[in-house]
Subunit: 447 residues, 2 copies
Amino acid sequence: MNYAELADSLRQAMEKQDVIALESLVAEFQPADLAEFLRHEEVDVSLKLLAHLDIEERAEVFGYLPLNTQFQVSELMTAEGLAQLLNCMDSDERADLFNIMDEDRQTSVLKLMAQEEREDLRRMASYEDETVGAIMTSNYASVPVTDTVLQALDKIRKTAPDAETIYQIYVLDKLHRLVGTISLRELIVSRPTALISDLMESELITMSPDQDQELAAKMISRYDLLALPVVDSQQRLVGIVTYDDAMDVAEAEATEDILKGGSVGGLEGSFKDATIFMLYRKRIFWLLLLVFANIFTAAGIAIYEDTIAKYAVLVFFMPLLIGSAGNAGSQASTLMVRGLGTGDVKLSDWAKLFAREIFVALALGLTMAFAVAFIGHFRGGMEIAVIVALSMIAVVMLGSLLGLSLPFVLHKLGLDPATASAPLVATIADAAGILVYFGIATAILGL
Amino acid sequence: MNYAELADSLRQAMEKQDVIALESLVAEFQPADLAEFLRHEEVDVSLKLLAHLDIEERAEVFGYLPLNTQFQVSELMTAEGLAQLLNCMDSDERADLFNIMDEDRQTSVLKLMAQEEREDLRRMASYEDETVGAIMTSNYASVPVTDTVLQALDKIRKTAPDAETIYQIYVLDKLHRLVGTISLRELIVSRPTALISDLMESELITMSPDQDQELAAKMISRYDLLALPVVDSQQRLVGIVTYDDAMDVAEAEATEDILKGGSVGGLEGSFKDATIFMLYRKRIFWLLLLVFANIFTAAGIAIYEDTIAKYAVLVFFMPLLIGSAGNAGSQASTLMVRGLGTGDVKLSDWAKLFAREIFVALALGLTMAFAVAFIGHFRGGMEIAVIVALSMIAVVMLGSLLGLSLPFVLHKLGLDPATASAPLVATIADAAGILVYFGIATAILGL
């Protein structure tokens, strides 16, 4: 049965309160699918359905739920039940949940956990949000550097049930320092008596727990890693970041950049499930900021009110010209911000790209000028055609070069280049465009 | 040595023509890093440096190069050299390269390849761009369903050097049909005499080669898979998509959506390396389309030219009002398009989201109206303040609801919802905003 069929059958079994059918259906779901199903159910229903799974499966399904749903479900559990669940969860996921529980709950749950798990949870929960530490897991497979292949394989077999991956194995010295890595692939094709120290890869790619999570995702993608080891300042292994967490981080970071590109503050969690107040809060800041920025455009218009009164036809071309400035600027900033985001472009490339953009924008401006000159001629005669064409070339170039440069300026000011959103660039280009347009018009019309 | 140090040393060795240093340095690079280095060198230099690696490593580094660089380097190779390289490349990567070679070159290279590799290349090269078939590899590890664990492990050891992953193993029947999967983790912890058929997972997640590559990336991310099996209509295994390729696809698709969001046609390859003409071509279409759409805004202004002539102060508020309509619209469409892109939102959610948006937009519009009413009063008295405030509420709601709905409309027309870019939404919202603004003004001023 596929997801839709399973979901339908499960809903029917729930209605009929057919516990036997229910139990077998719940077991048939992929863990990610069951989590998807539970997301749309009431919290108490989710809790009841989860109770049909054994603790290991329950922890896995639970881990796929959005964090706020995890929290709501956990609030309905006894401290004992929750402690038991936390024991079986992945170490990075349980730390996230732990961090949003209130202090009393944290204390009562910690008391009920085994000492080893408790210490691990305390350590993992201490890392700042969005750092490598916050997404790493301490469930890795490791072997001593003095082992033979046979000894190592024996250890791996014993670690297998708990480790998040056993395909990349970390080689440690007596002081728990990372000295190498070896893949399970290498282990199973090697002579059982060979020494790990002779086989291991010792050119290591590592990160420290306080680095940016986005960087870990980029490294994993760049080097096609299964997992990235995280070491402290003494080179001791403290955890690993696995490729599946890196994929989630990459998606979340892309979403953040896209929303910034549309002038929406970073929305945590689902858009679908967001409340009216959350959406209001994430949008009003930029709307207000931009409306005040638009006052510069308005001021530009006010300066030329006399020109406008004499040549009302100039107002007709305003949206075409300032719109084009904004659109060309949005294009340039979008290309730039994404280039910086993927690492394709570096800030040091700015001068080279600026030089190229001059030619691109000139070509764009000329084409656009050609297109609007006819309309200008038709609506206002030759003089207006010349004004409109010249203004178009100027504003498209201005908008493009502004759009390309703004991300760099923001970076220099210590802000995220992705803040150079299409609406922000368009607003700045509008204000500059108005001045250029009416400036050219005033000069040519001799006002 | 890190990447920057290695790159410096390599550059020095190249200048001094120190072949011995060069050879040892080239070997020290991570394959992805050496490819990054070669990307910025002349093509003939890249070819010479690659020659210092053995064929397996050369094929790996080569695979990390951008496709157009791969092509340029391959053009300098003899047919024999290229055939040898293709033999060692991943089956999906070599098919991509093969597809952009000219026909004569294809024929001469195919002749020099081993029969098995030749057939594989022909088959892999036949899949359409952006499909699952185009990103899958045929280098998977498989075992017959009748094997025991011991037999299977023996086979895996032999396949290991060629397979892209041996951690997920595909279980096939006599007719090459996929009947199950088993992980290497499971294999190494199981009794050697146990039967694969008893251990394997037979609830399978599969795709067909003609499905969209984006869907494969989403499935791998959703179910945290290492690899996704691809089967034909008879359920025969034809390839697998690995997680690292899925990460690349996810990044490319995010880039495509982001560029669309800034009204830039999908730019293939690097922004940094793009030519002036490529950038011109990708941008001019939307700029021209939007400038003609702006004519509607201009026409709106033309209708109210008399009103404008009498009350020049109304022009002052034009950029504030239509800017806010566009910005609110950009925010709503950005949230919507990304929600659709990640699968958070479905098209069937539209009515529910529209209802919520009414309240969000009303709250936003009221706040914005409050902010601009003062400026209105200051510049034009009470009447103007009322006009500006009412118009602001109306245009923010209009822009928001338009921005939210446009992605759905585009989808219904068979277009990509991501085409609802910030500039497009802003342009449409501008035109509608002008009519609302001057309409309200004309009514209140009794013109």
